[in-house]
Symmetry: C3
């Protein structure tokens, strides 16, 4: 189990963290890697890393689905970020084979920041 820190630079953005996971499983023995963020206003997802516009489209769609401006109950002004975190999910689990994550050709692993900029923790566990 390893904890890494990810710095985000905007309120909403997707940060590619694939390299951290790839490095960790290189020396690991097992079959699955679990990537988890212990926060309530960001999420973890897997999607295309080749064209950065894909994650931008995803971030924008989340904003349309859950607008930041709405008369939410929670008084901290970041309810939309909490809702988006539940839609994205707080972890992903990926198989790995011979020290390499079984990611598809286009797949990358992303931290989805919905209430930044902040420093975020990501906990990586090998199974």
């Amino acid at each position: 189990m390893t904890e890494i820190r990810v710095k985000t630079s905007k309120r909403v953005e997707a940060v590619n963290i694939t390299e951290h996971i790839t490095k960790m499983v290189e020396s690991g023995q097992g079959t699955l890697v679990h990537i988890y963020t212990p926060h309530t206003t960001c999420g973890i997802t897997i999607n295309e890393e080749a064209d950065p516009d894909v994650m931008r489209d995803i971030i924008d769609a989340f904003e349309r689905i859950v607008p930041a401006n709405h008369p939410y109950r929670h008084g901290e002004g970041n309810s939309d970020a909490h809702i988006k975190a539940t839609l994205a999910g707080s972890s992903v689990t990926v198989p790995y084979i011979k020290g390499k994550p079984a990611l598809g050709t286009w797949q990358g692993i992303f931290l989805m920041e919905f209430d930044g900029p902040r420093e975020r923790k990501v906990i990586i566990t090998l199974i």
Copy 2:
């Protein structure tokens, strides 16, 4: 592996089940805990437990994203609950360290009821 029962009291609501998971991992040995619900109209999510308004905002947002009133095909009148269950997901997996789930300061684990009130099963597995 342990199965618990969770009683829900409304059609839609979030029930905090963190305490059950915390108790179970206290005596467990391993690195991850998997929390699963074998139903198709509720889900499991991780989000803020400090202010109950956060989960209320999330439940309300799910209702706006997937209205209960829509000419759905499925004849049982609970299609919105099925759709919300897929958006939320049927399980979460959380690391645990020295008998404690590695939840962040604000994180709790919730059963999201979308078609209650009912008694729901939750299966907790240590890895």
Copy 3:
């Protein structure tokens, strides 16, 4: 760890893959089965398999939440499929007991195709 191939026949559709998972865990020893797709325009979900209209309602709802027609940035015309894949998630994990997945009475495991028709890979791992 086993890889199966799933052929999809439409642009968007849900394909029931439960039987493949059931067969694989029959001979397996462990407590959890992880079902993963290494693609960025399809997802894996658990929902009702008894009435096929449930998954049709879910697929239709995803289309309303994330319309195919929108001025997305990504130039390949399938941004909606990428967004839907992140909403659905790329994997599910299910407990299994004595060679049977602990699926509820109504639950089935589905590949959600959002940019077909194609042949899709699904990687099944026993824990």
